[in-house]
Symmetry: C2
Subunit: 268 residues, 2 copies
Amino acid sequence: MAAKPLKPMPLKPTKAGAATTAAIKVGVRGAETSADKPAVGAPSPGRGLVPAEMIARRIEEDIVLGRRHPRERLIEQDLCDLFQTHRGDVRLALFELVRKGLIERIPNRGAMVRGLAPQEVREIYAVREELEVMAVSVIPFPVAATDISRLEELHREHSAAVAAGDLLTVFYSNLRFHEALFGLCGNACLIETIDLLAHKVYGIRFYANASPQSLDRARRDHLEMIRALRAGRRDELIKLTRRHLKPSPEAYIKAYEQRFGKASSADG
Amino acid sequence: MAAKPLKPMPLKPTKAGAATTAAIKVGVRGAETSADKPAVGAPSPGRGLVPAEMIARRIEEDIVLGRRHPRERLIEQDLCDLFQTHRGDVRLALFELVRKGLIERIPNRGAMVRGLAPQEVREIYAVREELEVMAVSVIPFPVAATDISRLEELHREHSAAVAAGDLLTVFYSNLRFHEALFGLCGNACLIETIDLLAHKVYGIRFYANASPQSLDRARRDHLEMIRALRAGRRDELIKLTRRHLKPSPEAYIKAYEQRFGKASSADG
DNA sequence: GCAAACTATATTGTAAACAATCCTGGGAGG
DNA sequence: CCTCCCAGGATTGTTTACAATATAGTTTGC
């Protein structure tokens, strides 16, 4: 323990929760800084994120959009040059991506984009289904009109992107739609966990997004979800939630088996 | 983009899952390399961990056992001296703990042990219950005798620690028991997510572990769980799983309200 | 006497250099 | 011809120093 001749900390026994953010003697900036971290807002934003988080997001985006394929390796120095930063932050970003399950890292060797085995994908989607169904099961009904409006707005965004074939915008508007939907449940931990698992399978969306049919089906699902929400039909909403999660893993696994043979999907 | 004149990577299209670890051309030594880094002797888990993970673990343990209280701040240099390492690893460990929800970090200010508001605790436990019930719901029955034996062994360990009043061992053996139990479900993602959420509330176990009655109740719960497992009574097991999760948050919230007043628990 | 600004210090963030480790490829020995 | 060993080069891991930023205490102006 080094010197600590000054005060140990403000020590205000406020409610320790979200507001605790302000504890360190929050200036005007404190709140903002840690506040706007939940979203995956825009393609390449620099807004109030820690540099490492921004780098992680950019790499994530590359993986999602297929610009970096599985087994491709990520060199720290390359990333430093690319993002104009130092290795400390790049390193942090890489560990962050390991945590999210998007890349793999072996000490003293390096990091590489991670491919998901069918079995893993199935398992992740099983948990996602459980949690997303839980989320829509606890949404307080009736849902406020403003919330419905917001979902409709996001749905319009998504539809437009689908129509335009703009995959990047499709991806992010779809993300925002689901964030808004599950956000209605009010359980921050649940929302965060759903988000975490969604990140793990970002990479395979590429397969699901491949066909226009899939995109359109997703669009229609969203529309039905909004209807069910407005009508207060919870059972319907749950059914839709389950159905909406089916196509992505199926498309991925099918593509995987066609490419590498069926054997791999059965092991493990 | 620096030079990359050599091979881009082995590129073996094996099953991309867990075995992928070997992809970078893992030699025989690969595993050892990360293993033989004792760094700082940890009480319980000295296993092959990256230094940063070990540091995170130690700090986590301190928090769990109340050796570091909420709002206490963590200075990078102090931790370097304590763990005999450099700031890079300490920094990594701190970010890791932020992710686990045990500490809070504000850029340019520092990190501090995080206190959980009652509302957060409730939310986390709600998700934990959902996932743990899911886990025991998908355990393939009947359970192998060796698995039952292992659980009994861990239960004995736990019981002994409870009897001896050795809180540290109680904590870790309890952890191992639940890892083994939920491990039976076979869904790696589910196991990992359950573990993640358990970490988030490590800190509040201190309250639950305070009374010998609580410890003994947990012990008896474990015993009943093993019985239900052996008898193949899934409904019973689910009921026990739910019941087992109740006391901890209740004890914490009660203690919290007694200390800071009831107002805080209702907001948010 | 109070408030605003200033300085001093503690702490975090960034950068660069150095050391350790691992893959690649060629050559010696069998 | 094959195997083993050894240098060469690339990449990660570690160390150190320095810069930026925030907090605390003090001073100055009113």
